[in-house]
């Protein structure tokens, strides 16, 4: 620590910065949320390069005319790089066919996510927080090319045009490609306040021309993932982890491991025992041969059945909450003497693994205090902070090279940087700057926790004479994701209840009493694509459908009336658009039954109408008509792709997703026990985008949470009983 502070002093850090970094590095709950974003970025980027090219940190132009848009957000599949590139290319008037993308280096200040204050991808925020930033970068670069051409051609700036990467002066007939003018443009002083286009004049943004830039690489096996990294002298590591959360190594017997050809070293690290080998297969064989004696005395040893019962008892007031405090997330009106409940129901949701196709992995290179990570880092700043603590360096000095992720769904960012920290510990022990690639097997990945938390909801609703909610009591019990984060533990963790909190249905209800309780369980939990909405969308939408049916109303009409009461015009618009295209009100195709659901998340509102039938008792989903209002659409084809993919991930969880603990041990380990969606089960999603001139909002997550309630509501329409727990398929 002293060494770090000395270095900071040498690099000109202020006393305040030094204190803040000191607090961060010892794990204090000070920095990320509490420091002003500008100070924080300064501190956390100390050591990072300040040397960018002539067109700034987001744009490079090569003499051959190729434009590279540098993306501060990781591409995990969500297609954000297509949209990010389009934002800059639109304002630069680049030739879209000669635009490519690359991941930014780690820099907590320059590449900060404005929604987070540090560098990271999440909350479906990539496009929305780059909307002005990348357009400004593109426009500023354009102005430099225009000025360079005007000077070179002795023409008025106002007469120089740029179109499809060609700079031209019509009067003199002169023209040149962006590449031809790079050297001249680089000498023009950049402006920080360029004029942005009127969105009405966009020629690229919002058109079907905005397509992925990585489809060739990803269709030829040439896209580079962490798993594919091969460096001279590199070692591959696997780690034996405790069979229960919180287990510690007592001792280990590595005799058999060391006899495996290719095994180089075996040693203990904080999270287990590392086996380091010359190849993946040798590491695997070596790890399998290892015998570890674990101290399991302080582990989480409850079963998920017990936890679920405890949650139910807590919500019902049958179990004492002890030191735990209920936190109100919606409260309106004076609770009067409760009338007869129109609906009293509970819902249970299991732990969910992300189960990305590429299991977690990270390449780390450590030489003394110097450290480089090569990985699909979703939050480079967090990975820098955690690596810095291990090697004893400034966070900004930790180099991070970000690669494509083979999926994330939220898994590749957490406050502990679990697998990245593990890789750094191993590379530090190996030392000498020798690259180490930590790889997890599917079973390691699935049993490592960081799940979508288990959740229990209990609701009691009374209705007025027209059948609309008059009072709404809701109790939610779930582990807090934010508890113990560097931002500090919030009194109300909104990630637990977002979607119920702020629901138009609650807004339309005169008396609301909605509270959440966050019990402590020793299972690491994390955001999982659409986070709170993974359960709140189900609870709100399935409840509303039941209320509509009790009131004898068409569920779509019933929602329309509630949206009118709540002033939820965007909800109304997407619902109408989906209903119109789905043919709601007309009979569905023979054998199919329709269910509707609407949910707002990450600033966007999605409505889905699903056609469902039961095959051997299992819901089969055919056509899904989707309408989304995501503000100004940037990459229309990728918006559709996210609706298609989000629906599949949501449906996989709804049909089959469940992680089970037996006496604390995770039972599922691979795709045979943690079933996911396969091709023949995947619906066909039609996507309709509401035209909008509002700033863009989220796309990656909002398509996920709506399908489960749409299916449950179709089952209601078939005359099936309400669904009170997920997954639909119990065995």
């Amino acid at each position: 620590m002293t060494k770090i502070l000395d270095r900071m002093a040498a690099e000109g850090a202020t006393r305040r910065e030094t204190l803040t970094v000191a607090a961060t590095l010892v794990g204090g709950a000070l920095v990320v949320g509490c420091s002003p974003a500008n100070v924080m970025g300064d501190i956390l980027s100390l050591g990072a390069t300040k040397d960018f090219g002539p067109f700034g940190p987001f744009i490079k132009v090569e003499p051959n005319g190729w434009v590279t848009v540098i993306c501060k957000h990781i591409e995990v599949g969500q297609g954000n790089h297509a949209g990010l590139a389009a934002l800059a290319a639109e304002e630069l008037d680049a030739d879209w066919a000669k635009v490519k993308t690359e991941h930014a280096a780690a820099n907590a200040k320059v590449y900060a996510n404005s929604a987070m204050g540090v560098q990271g991808t999440g909350g479906s925020s990539a496009i929305s927080n780059s909307w002005l930033q990348l357009r400004t970068a593109g426009a500023a670069a354009r102005a430099m090319f225009v000025q360079a051409a005007a000077t070179k051609w002795n023409a008025p700036v106002g007469e120089v045009t740029v179109q499809n990467g060609v700079v031209a002066h019509a009067k003199s007939g002169k023209q040149a490609g962006l590449g031809d003018l790079v050297a001249d443009a680089a000498k023009v002083p950049p402006t920080t306040t360029p004029t942005l286009k009127d969105p009405k004049t966009f020629t690229l943004i919002g058109t079907d021309r905005v397509r992925r830039k990585d489809s060739v690489a990803k269709s030829t096996g040439t896209a580079l993932y962490t798993q594919d990294v091969q460096l001279p002298n590199m070692l591959t590591a696997m780690v034996a982890h405790a069979p229960k959360f919180g287990g510690k190594v007592v001792s280990f017997d590595d005799k058999a491991t060391r006899q495996v050809p290719g095994v180089v070293e075996v040693f203990q690290i904080p999270s287990g025992v590392a086996v380091v080998a010359e190849s993946t297969w040798a590491a695997r064989q070596g790890r399998d041969a290892l015998k570890v004696n674990w101290d399991l005395s302080k582990t989480e040893s409850r079963s998920t059945d017990q936890l679920a019962q405890w949650y139910r008892d807590l919500a019902a007031g049958k179990a004492a909450a002890g030191d735990l405090k209920w936190a109100a997330f919606e409260a309106r009106g004076a609770p009067s003497a409760p009338g007869a409940a129109a609906l009293e129901t509970t819902y249970d949701f299991p732990y969910l693994a992300h189960a990305t196709m590429e299991p977690m992995n990270c390449v780390a290179i450590v030489n003394g205090a110097s450290c480089k990570l090569i990985s699909a880092s979703q939050s480079p700043t967090l990975d820098q902070l955690n690596a810095a603590k291990i090697v004893g360096n400034l966070p900004g000095n930790i180099e991070v090279q970000t690669l494509f992720a083979g999926g994330s769904f939220g898994r590749r960012t957490n406050f502990q940087s679990d697998y990245a920290a593990e890789a750094v510990h191993i590379a530090k022990t190996v030392g000498h700057g020798r690259p180490v690639k930590l790889v997890w097997t599917r079973e390691d990945d699935m049993r490592a926790g960081y799940y979508r938390p288990m959740v229990h909801h209990a609701l009691r609703i009374t209705t007025d004479k027209d059948g609309f909610p008059a009072s709404w009591r809701q109790r939610v019990v779930t582990q807090s994701i934010m508890k113990g984060s560097p931002m500090g533990t919030p009194k109300l963790d909104s990630t637990s209840v977002e979607g119920a909190m702020g629901s138009p249905y609650l807004k339309a209800t005169p008396v609301v009493d909605a509270q959440v309780l966050s019990p402590d369980v020793g299972v690491p939990v994390l955001w999982w694509r659409s986070v709170g909405a993974t359960h709140t969308a189900f609870v709100m939408e399935h409840t509303i459908d039941q209320l509509a049916r009790k009131a004898g109303r068409d569920p779509v009409d019933y929602r329309r009336a509630l949206y009118a009461k709540a002033g939820a015009n965007r909800h109304l618009a997407v619902l109408n658009l989906a209903a119109q295209n789905a043919g709601w009100g007309r009979p569905p195709p023979a054998g199919w039954t329709r269910g509707a659901a609407v949910h707002e998340s990450f600033g966007s509102v999605v409505a889905q109408i699903a056609e469902v039938k039961l095959e051997n008792g299992v819901p089969k989903v055919g056509r899904v008509v989707t309408a989304i209002d995501c503000g100004t659409p940037i990459a229309r084809d990728q918006i559709a792709a996210q609706m298609e993919g989000g629906t599949c991930l949501g449906l996989a969880a709804a049909l089959y997703g469940k992680m089970t603990l037996k006496d604390g041990a995770v039972q599922e380990g691979n795709f045979d026990s943690y079933r996911v969606l396969r091709n023949s089960e995947a619906p066909t999603v039609e996507t309709y985008i509401v035209p909008s001139s509002n700033p863009p909002s989220g796309v990656g997550e909002p398509g996920t949470p709506v399908i489960a309630p749409a299916v449950a509501n179709a089952l209601l329409a078939m005359g099936q009983p309400p669904t009170t727990s997920l997954p639909f398929v119990k065995t």
């Binding site: 096996g221 798993q227 600033g603 091709n679």
Partner: protein, 170 residues
């Protein structure tokens, strides 16, 4: 002990022990990283390669059983294979990690059934998991590569309704 394998039209000598799964020989020894590790137990299909034109799960196929089988990997398709071109036209990939395996399974399907039905497509592709949920584009790309019309169940082009969106609430 060296083993000789026939990979993408070439005879290759590898040093790995005979019980080593083909996937790790391809990836670690031959630096052909297009075939992916996803599950290690033949459940997900990310490691799919062809042996004499039949799909195999290279993660659970030891090189000792391959004999003189002709192995084709994603690298062996060359990049301009009609299936790859269809994949690119439809922007099938999202994260992309499973797509090498998906493409290899599609290549086998179309070699065996040049004009597959919807059911044959789904059934042939059910062994390949995609967590991003690109399944419907996979189906569309296979039909495209097969020269089949996109049937009514395929998504129509994106439509823009005439009613503008109401203003966002701040």
């Amino acid at each position: 002990m060296a083993t000789t394998l026939q990979i993408n039209g070439k005879s290759v000598q590898v040093k790995a022990a005979p019980e080593t799964p083909l996937l790790w020989v391809l990836r670690d020894e031959l630096a052909m990283t297009g075939s992916k590790y996803g599950c290690g137990v033949g459940q997900c299909g990310a490691c799919t390669v062809l042996a004499d034109g039949q799909p195999i799960r290279s993660c659970s196929t030891p090189i000792s059983v391959l004999g003189t089988a002709k192995i084709t990997t994603i690298e062996g398709l060359g990049g301009d294979h009609p299936v790859q071109q269809a994949w690119i036209r439809h922007d099938v990939p999202q994260c992309g990690y499973c797509q090498s395996g998906q493409i290899m399974s599609a290549v086998v399907l179309l070699a065996q059934k040049p004009k597959p039905t919807d059911e044959e497509i789904s059934s042939a592709m059910d062994g390949n998991i995609c967590r991003c949920g690109t399944y419907q584009r996979i189906r569309a790309a296979i039909k495209d590569a097969a020269g089949l019309p996109q049937v009514a169940s395929s998504p129509p082009p994106l439509k823009t309704p005439s009613v503008p969106a109401p203003a966002a609430k701040i």
